[in-house]
């Protein structure tokens, strides 16, 4: 595997987790391509045009995206199901159009001048974020999120502020997507609006759905397979996209809950079962 592909794989794992975190509260977000674009441009502008250091720029990009995520999420998360999906799609369209029409960041031509990234930075990030999500999966918060996802009304009745929890995770997911977007921009040295089309948002969601939505490892498996596979079947030539699509359809037909469907139990009684 080339370094280039390895870096894309790492960035895509982070993106998959950004969707996974939001999906923990039952929200399927097609807006993460937009948050990724935000992160790419904010960190790009800060480093290339204002000379701000790499990590401060990344942190500011993530924070900005979290704020925008919460601001857009507040009205968006009032809708559910198919409507929410449409609203998150709309966020992606809006951000792409906004970037295309902003001269300061080069409009449709895009902008360059980023600082590059490294294997250590990308996979260091994957490890840190992965460790945090693993801790989450073992903490009482995991159950709160599971409750919100499974039955928002019952979750509310036992005292969980469902809107707050959803909004918080939407903001965290947006921040993570932006961080990954920043890594992407620096790795590419150049970004343009057409790097962040709706297809990107759809692909990130696909990583999670295909890998399995019930645990953090599904996102990793989905992101790795869907990043590496198109390269691995390059020899097929022009039919590549078609074969790729077909493989996804077949997988989802036979494993609807993804490749890794299990959910980890957060607490055990330590007693003998069914004595």
């Amino acid at each position: 595997m080339s370094l280039d592909l390895a870096l894309f794989t790492g960035i895509n794992i982070l993106l998959a987790w950004s969707v996974y975190l939001i999906l923990l509260t039952g929200t399927l977000s097609f807006a993460n391509g937009a948050f990724m674009a935000l992160g790419a441009y904010v960190s790009g502008v800060l480093t290339a045009k204002f000379g701000i250091g790499y990590m401060p720029a990344m942190a500011m990009a993530a924070a900005a995206s979290a704020v925008i995520g919460v601001l857009t999420g507040y009205p968006a998360l009032r809708t559910r199901g198919i409507y929410l999906i449409l609203v998150t799609l709309a966020i992606t369209f809006f951000v792409q159009t906004a970037i295309e029409n902003t001269k300061f960041v080069g409009g449709v031509q895009g902008m360059g001048g980023m600082m590059g990234t490294s294997f250590e930075i990308v996979y260091g990030s994957v490890i840190v974020v992965g460790a945090l999500i693993w801790l989450l999966s073992r903490s009482p918060l995991q159950r709160v999120l599971d409750a919100v996802r499974e039955d928002e009304h019952v979750a509310g009745a036992i005292g969980i502020n469902v809107v707050y929890v959803r909004l918080a995770l939407f903001g965290i997911g947006a921040a993570l997507a932006a961080y990954a977007g920043g890594l992407y921009a620096h790795h590419m040295f150049f970004v343009a609006p057409d790097h962040f089309t709706i297809i990107v948002s759809v692909f990130i969601v696909l990583y999670v759905i295909m890998g399995g939505v019930n645990n953090m490892w599904g996102s990793v498996v989905g992101a790795v397979i869907l990043t590496v596979l198109p390269e691995a079947i390059r020899f097929i030539g022009e039919w590549r996209q078609g074969v790729f699509g077909l493989l996804i359809v077949i997988l989802l037909l036979f494993r609807r809950d993804g490749i890794l469907p299990f959910r980890s139990v957060t607490a055990r009684s330590g007693r003998k079962a069914d004595a």
Binding site: E150, G156, R271
Partner: protein, 253 residues
């Protein structure tokens, strides 16, 4: 001492349909109030308003003198009203123990702080296990909730409700679909729960349950109060018999 719950002139309309029509009632400390009525009488609509699922169209609801009429679902839950559902609603993917642990107020109130809630892990498990045991589910604690038989699922729903530390418990037809033996056990379970609660409201069709649990009964029809009093009085009230039992014979009573 003030009433646990006071419902005052509460109305709920859905479009042109009047589900509850300026209904008033109180639930006193230590009391189990039974609510009786035919399907569509507005019993569940009433419970849904008290627990915050619906907002009343008119009227006020108080919990210990604190007005809760316009509070949201989670605020009412935090103030101490817990409920069960006609069609049992568990977190089906979680285990029995996890269902009860989820309702722990320490984490439902400050969800993001729950991320750091590792320290009390053993304590949390013990606390939840005490309730699981209380409801007689200890040997099933690690089973997935979705796989429980009906009676166990109902008991788990009650254990989860108790885990929120409620003062008032609303039971929406807990005995629906149970046979005689299961009903007997349920009655015993509800009596056990009462020790931990300031009061109980029980919606029920089952006359045995009403008579064995309720201290006082409110009979509803068309969203209004038809009769109120001790179970035997209400159950023998002619209007109640006509509306609810569809008969003037007394054999069901």
């Amino acid at each position: 001492m003030s009433s646990v719950l006071s419902v005052d002139g509460v109305t709920k309309t859905f479009g042109g349909l009047v589900a509850v029509d300026s209904l008033s009632l109180t639930v006193e400390p230590g009391e189990a109030l039974g609510i009786l009525g035919p399907n569509g009488a507005g019993k569940t609509a009433l419970i849904n308003m008290v627990s915050g699922f619906y907002r009343p169209t008119a009227g006020t609801i108080r919990l210990f003198d604190r007005e809760i009429t316009d509070l949201s679902l989670h605020q009412i839950g935090r103030l101490g009203i817990a409920r069960t559902f006609q069609n049992i609603r568990l977190f089906r993917r979680m285990t029995v123990l996890e269902n009860v642990m989820t309702a722990n107020p320490r984490y439902t109130r400050k969800p993001l702080r729950a991320f750091f809630g590792f320290g009390g892990r053993r304590h949390d498990i013990d606390e939840a296990m005490a309730l699981v045991e209380f409801m007689g589910l200890a040997d099933r604690a690690d089973r997935i909730a979705g796989s429980l038989p009906y009676g166990d699922a109902r008991r788990l729903e009650m254990a989860r409700a108790l885990a929120t530390g409620p003062r008032l418990l609303l039971l929406d037809e807990p005995g629906a679909g149970m046979n005689e033996e299961e009903t007997e056990r349920l009655i015993a379970d509800i009596h056990k729960c009462r020790e931990r609660l300031a009061a109980i409201v029980l919606i029920e069709h089952d006359m045995t349950m009403i008579r064995k649990i309720a201290d006082r009964v409110v009979a509803m029809n068309y969203g209004r109060k038809m009769a109120e009093g001790r179970p035997t009085e209400v159950l023998s009230h002619p209007e109640v018999k006509r509306a609810y039992l569809g008969t003037t014979e007394g054999e069901l009573v």
